[in-house]
């Protein structure tokens, strides 16, 4: 996936209304009016959010002109999850080194305490 596509995905996810829409679509496809129902928002405003999600590839809309159900497309979400996963790897490695080093510090402190007692 191109970097600019990822930015589009992140921008689409930045809005709480759009995240709520995605969460509702996770349970199955919905019409625009069904999606609009819980929000105090005009249909055009909801349609605008849907267009942003569609451009980001996060939803797919049916072809039928009358009833264009929205469906979740999870693959860009997986890309976002993969990013977090890479970041996680760097810190995981760093913390593992810290943990290993702390064991050396602990051993040193113990040895030092023994020496002190002998004095």
């Amino acid at each position: 996936m191109a970097a600019d596509q990822l930015s589009t995905t992140f921008a689409a996810l930045a809005d709480p209304t759009r995240r709520t829409i995605l969460a509702r679509l996770a349970t199955g496809e919905r019409s625009v009016s069904e999606l609009a129902a819980p929000f105090e928002m005009s249909m055009p405003a909801v349609s605008k959010h849907l267009r942003v999600l569609e451009r980001a590839g996060l939803i797919v809309r049916g072809r039928d002109a009358q009833w264009r159900p929205c469906r979740l497309n999870a693959s860009p979400l997986k890309q976002v999850a993969d990013w977090t996963e890479r970041y996680r790897h760097i810190w995981e490695a760093r913390f593992d080194r810290l943990d290993t080093y702390l064991q050396q510090m602990k051993a040193k402190e113990k040895a030092h305490a023994r020496k002190q007692r002998r004095k």
Partner: protein, 166 residues
Amino acid sequence: MPVSSVANSRTFKVTTPSDTDIQLTRLFDAPRHLVYEALTKPEHVRRWWGILDDKHSVPVCEIDLRVGGAWRFVGEGPEGRMPAFYGVYREIVPRERLVNTEFFELFPDAGSVVTTVLTEEGGKTRMTVTATYPSKDVRDMVLKTGMEHGAATSYDRLEEVAAGLA
């Protein structure tokens, strides 16, 4: 050399508690005073912070541990010196809590405020690091940078494997 415990490694978690935060948490099998020392004394930080294999080191590791005092870390590898990470300490509660700013030389406009909290947990120490970025875009960029570093490391490994095959 003692190997880090698998059990502790499993306690590591990365979360994004808000649009502008990244939070890391992990349990360490060491008393809190040692973890604090490992975080705040250059001679210790040098031993774990960088990429740290035999090709990499942390030649610059300066810590002026007082409110308003600066810190600066620079890693070095075969490709030369890397851009610095640096910032200023804002809050210091010895053994418990550190708040500092963190900037990366390549993106000086995209600094974060990092809060590190140490808590005792049955003889072990839990470290919780929360980095707060100025915007969601910046936070996401940091997650992306993580990917690029990760990829670079993987390529290095690939190179080693390839060299072994030759």
